[in-house]
């Protein structure tokens, strides 16, 4: 029998991040996975980051997580999105070499004390409502805490046309004994679906007919600490589009799609529709963009992003070959829809521990999310909280106003989900506070305090912060000028000398011409520009956060019956009864809820409290 502090089941993005955070906290950890070679596998498109997601990756990085480092070890194209907008909504997207990413993760894990087991988990050990580890085909692995990160493998079914097979990912079986065990626990479950496009040989496509999209120069980094010495070879993506003929083919065959057959009951993500969905729902559009993403540096394979489908194989070939540049496409794997079970995340606490079973944590896609970044974030949070609980440390729960990870977990555990949950910047009501570039300022100290980040990094961070403060106070606030160049390239004369920091607050100043930076203070100057630009808005958001913090965290018992509250509209009552928000804050964010309604709920809670005291 093997014994560990924490047992992590699953070697995907949630699993590895969970195991690694347990390791950073100084505890022993077992990682049990079906196929050791697939640890760190990117099972969807080979890219990390993007809007709302790079923010999460940087937050993971600020807490010592491994996703950003693995990204940089395998990144083959970097692009910053939204460069014409401000800092808070800029996001880095990195195309990765699928194999190199996996290798990078495995390499990082090798440097730790995490023990990896190439085993299928058959059973979970439960004694008196306490989970005590897992049983595999060959052995018992005990752990004070168990973290389950089984992704789409729960009762996974794949559909291509009318062909159905079981499995969580092409080529991987689903985990049937474990699934059965989970069903026996009678957790609240639901069913979701997602889809993937066909994979095409790079050598069979004509990239010269497509628009090339090269990476950004100079190539940026995802990680802000301990990044690799140099980048991988950088390569381009390509853009092509569907056309009338493509749409004609798909329209005529839509009834053959698994998704339209009525066989699939799971709810798919609205932001990730299949190509047959796009064409049928938006009939007026006669072309859709396809993003050709290379699968790797030396790999003869591309991922055509934008045409996920569950049409029969012959139709897939036909419509793909109707697209410019893809006329001679050789398809290696066909697209499919995958349907899987998830556990209603309202059954877990913000620490990701299951409410009904102690010492048992769920993280990743099993909680109804989608995306590597969302999964990894949950893995980290489950890992740190499992470890913190063993070490008798305070749990790590992030606020909505301090991290996208906070928004993610709050949304999941309070609202539950109606479709696979993906992060968008518009989900964060305090978006301006949460830039991908200030993740360390928001989270590093917290991470250091709980033990996720070591002293060396913490000191290093503090030094940088001091350096920035000195730059602002000693240089920007002390350098004075009487003229500046405005946005229209005109020279403006001021009536008196003003310091640079003050001038940064003006909207009309051309900031790049205002101050000459050097190599060391360039990033500080950029930060000062952002901070001054956002100043008024940030003050306002901080005031809002402070004002509502106490009230928002007030818990609402699940037994609350909103039908009894007079003064709420029927529509709002129905919505509240259905969603059962866990806190006043999440009730207040629900559609149609007014501040008066929030007051009525508060009063109802107090009444119930008083009644309880009386009896």
């Amino acid at each position: 029998m093997d014994k560990f502090d924490v047992v992590v089941v699953g070697g995907g993005h949630a699993g590895v991040e969970a195991a690694h955070s347990v390791f950073r906290m100084g505890l022993s950890c077992a990682l049990v996975t079906l196929n050791i070679k697939n640890i760190g596998q990117m099972s969807c498109n080979p890219a990390i980051g993007g809007l709302g997601k790079s923010h999460i990756v940087r937050e993971i990085g600020a807490m010592g997580g491994i996703m950003p480092i693995a990204t940089d070890m395998s990144g083959i194209q970097y692009r910053t999105l939204n460069t014409r907008k401000g800092d808070a909504v800029q996001a880095l997207r990195v195309q990765c070499d699928r194999d190199l990413y996996k290798k990078a993760i495995q390499k990082i894990l090798k440097k730790t004390t995490i023990e990896v087991f190439d085993e299928e988990v058959m059973d979970i050990i439960i004694e008196k409502n306490l989970v005590k580890g897992v049983v595999t085909k060959t052995k018992t692995i005990k752990g004070a805490k168990t973290i389950l990160t089984t992704g789409t493998f729960l009762n996974g079914k794949m559909y291509t046309g009318d062909i159905v097979s079981t499995g969580g990912r092409s080529g991987d079986p689903s985990s049937i004994p474990l699934s059965k065990k989970l069903y026996k626990l009678s957790l609240p479950m639901g069913r979701l679906k997602t889809g993937t496009p066909a994979r095409i040989k790079l050598s069979s496509i004509n990239i010269h007919k497509m628009e090339e999209q090269p990476g950004e120069k100079p190539t940026p980094w995802m990680s802000t600490y301990q990044k690799p010495k140099k980048h991988q070879k950088q390569i381009s993506c390509f853009i092509t589009r569907t056309n009338k003929k493509t749409h004609e083919i798909i329209k005529q065959s839509t009834h053959l799609s698994a998704m339209y057959s009525g066989n699939i009951t799971g709810i798919g993500p609205r932001y990730c529709p299949s190509i047959e969905d796009k064409i049928n729902r938006f009939k007026e559009k006669n072309s859709h963009q396809i993003f050709i993403e290379p699968e790797g540096i030396n790999k003869d394979l591309v991922y055509p992003n934008g045409i996920s489908t569950s049409l029969p194989k012959n139709i897939q070939t036909e419509f793909i070959q109707s697209i410019k540049g893809l006329e001679n496409s050789e398809i290696t794997d066909f697209g499919y829809a995958v349907e899987y079970d998830f556990v209603d995340p309202r059954s877990i606490k913000p620490t990701l521990e299951l409410k009904t079973l102690k010492n048992f944590y769920l993280a990743g896609q099993i909680n109804g999310t989608t995306g590597y970044e969302e999964a990894a974030a949950q893995g980290l949070i489950a890992g740190v909280n499992a470890a913190a609980s063993i070490l008798n440390k305070k749990e790590l729960i992030l606020e909505r106003s301090e991290a996208y990870i906070g928004v993610l977990i709050d949304d999941l555990t309070n609202h539950g989900i109606t479709e696979p949950y993906r992060m968008f910047t518009s989900r964060a009501e305090h978006r301006l506070l949460l830039s991908q570039n200030n993740a360390e300022q928001r989270l590093l100290k917290k991470a250091y305090k709980v033990g996720l980040v070591d002293k060396k990094r913490y000191n290093n961070f503090n030094e940088q912060e001091e350096e920035y403060k000195r730059f602002v106070n000693d240089i920007l606030k002390k350098t004075k000028t009487k003229n500046f160049i405005n946005n229209k390239k005109q020279k403006i004369k001021l009536s008196e000398n003003k310091n640079i920091y003050k001038l940064l607050k003006r909207n009309d100043v051309d900031k790049h011409k205002l101050f000459k930076t050097n190599k060391t203070n360039k990033k500080h100057y950029k930060r000062a520009i952002t901070e001054t630009k956002y100043h008024g808005y940030i003050e306002k958001q901080l005031r809002e956060v402070k004002k509502t913090k106490k009230q928002n965290n007030k818990k609402i018992p699940t037994t609350t019956n909103y039908s009894n509250i007079s003064g709420l509209s029927n529509e709002v009552k129905e919505r509240l009864n259905k969603n059962k928000p866990r806190t006043i804050g999440s009730a207040a964010r629900m559609e149609g809820v007014t501040p008066a309604a929030v007051n009525l709920i508060l009063i109802q809670l107090k009444k119930e409290e008083l009644l309880k005291q009386k009896t």
Binding site: S569, R589, E591, V593, A596
Partner: protein
């Protein structure tokens, strides 16, 4: 909880007005308004109140320290002279200091949440809060707001529509789609701003006219309408004499009753007058009766013909009849709604009750009527200026996420009337308006 203030007395010209302020930290403002922060709790101080432009009024001030206050929080009350200008200046000064105007029932709610009042009392608390009816429309006796909600929700919808385009542009900029063209978006925003602005302006104008309910006293000459009027109002407002036809013009006064305000009109008695002035007065009385919310017929005796004549005058109004002078005449039971003596005051409690009942549907929520309206007016104006900011931001090439922030704020100012827009539902609108997704 944040600091809020409210005018605790009716929003009309009166001898004094009382403002209440409550919330943790509200005592920090004392120095700012009264030039000192050291006031002994629960003691009446006479001090000067300074607003944004200097001294506003000489006022009474009582400071309450938590938990010994109505709400259980740090509080203070200001007793000022009851002129409208004073009220408006004090209100402005509070707002300028960052205090928010309380929503209806806020003080009682706080008292309740801070264990200052019992469960039984609390049953009534919910009623004080702005309620919504079954269709989600904000209920207010204020006819203005009833119809407002649907109008405001229309504007809220327009703001949502524009936010959908901007949020899509922020979150899905790599989709190869264009979600708007700047010129079109600017047009839409300016358009929206102008219409909203006009609408808010219209509301403000209406507010002035529709504040109070009207009660008109009518009756035969010398039935004692003016005496009844004076009794109701509480002081000798109308000249009373034994000479028939004393009241020739309409006399108006305000009647405060159960914290509601009525305008009560005394009118010339109706008779075949020979005097032209009196004739005109009678004419006017009759027309006024038609426009009022409640007509009170004042009679001295039971004469079916006279009674029917007056009742017939107000077919479309609520009509109650009273027999006056019951100190000298015998009450004729079963004929009138009320029996009073303006001279002795007998029966006036019952009369006030009857008047109250006539407006009962409207009385319950009317308590904070003025505040609700003023508050909403301020919120709508804030919303308009947020839209202006967004327009200026777009013209100025301000980063889009800041424009988005202005629009979010514009929308959230309307939450109180039409409810929150949930981020997930905004995303839903994006997905149904645009073909997004890889």
């Amino acid at each position: 909880m944040s600091v809020v203030y409210a005018l605790a007395t009716p929003p009309a010209k009166s001898a004094i007005c009382v403002f209440r302020v409550t919330g943790k930290g509200c005592h920090k403002s004392l120095n700012n308004f009264f030039g000192s922060r050291c006031f002994e709790p629960n003691v009446f101080n006479v001090v000067f109140f300074s607003g944004l432009d200097g001294v506003v009024d000489r006022v009474g001030l009582v400071v309450f320290k938590a938990p010994k206050s109505y709400t259980g929080e740090d509080s203070f009350e200001v007793y000022a002279h009851g002129g409208l200008a004073v009220m408006s200046n004090i209100s402005k000064a509070f707002r300028g200091f960052g205090f928010e105007e309380a929503v209806g029932g806020e003080f009682t709610k706080r008292a309740f949440l801070n264990n200052k009042i019992s469960l039984n009392e609390a049953e009534a608390v919910s009623d004080l809060i702005d309620c919504t009816d079954e269709n989600g429309v904000v209920l207010s006796t204020n006819s203005l707001l009833g119809g407002l909600a649907s109008q405001v929700s229309f504007f809220a919808g327009e703001i949502d529509g524009i936010r959908v385009r901007i949020e899509a542009e922020i979150d899905f900029s790599d989709e190869g789609e264009s979600f708007y063209d700047v010129a079109g978006l600017l047009d839409d925003l300016k358009n929206l701003k102008n219409r909203f602005d006009l609408f808010v302006g219209g509301c403000v104008n209406k507010k002035v006219g529709s504040q109070k309910k009207n009660i008109v006293l009518i009756g035969p000459v010398n039935s004692g309408k003016s005496s009844v009027f004076n009794r109701l109002v509480g002081f000798d407002r109308a000249i009373v004499s034994n000479t028939p036809g004393t009241t020739r013009d309409m006399i108006e006064s305000e009647l405060f009753f159960e914290s509601s305000v009525f305008s009560i009109f005394d009118t010339a008695g109706v008779r075949d007058a020979e005097d032209d002035v009196e004739k005109a007065g009678i004419q006017y009385s009759l027309s006024q009766a038609n426009d009022s919310d409640l007509v009170i017929g004042v009679f001295e005796e039971s004469d079916q013909g006279v009674f029917d004549y007056f009742k017939g005058l107000c077919e479309h109004n609520r009509f109650i009849s009273i027999q006056n002078k019951v100190d000298i005449n015998k009450p004729i039971k079963g004929v009138f709604d009320c029996y009073v003596s303006a001279k002795t005051g007998a029966g006036f409690d019952v009369l006030k009750g009857v008047i109250g009942n006539c407006f009962q549907s409207g009385l319950k929520l009317e308590k904070y009527d003025f505040l609700i309206r003023d508050r909403h007016e301020a919120l709508f104006n804030k919303s308009v200026s947020d839209i202006e900011l967004a327009v200026a931001g777009l013209l100025d090439n301000k980063p889009l996420e800041l424009v988005a922030e202005d629009l979010k704020s514009a929308r959230s100012n309307l939450d109180e009337v039409v409810g929150v827009k949930y981020s997930d539902s905004l995303l839903g609108d994006i997905f149904s308006s645009f073909c997004i997704g890889k």
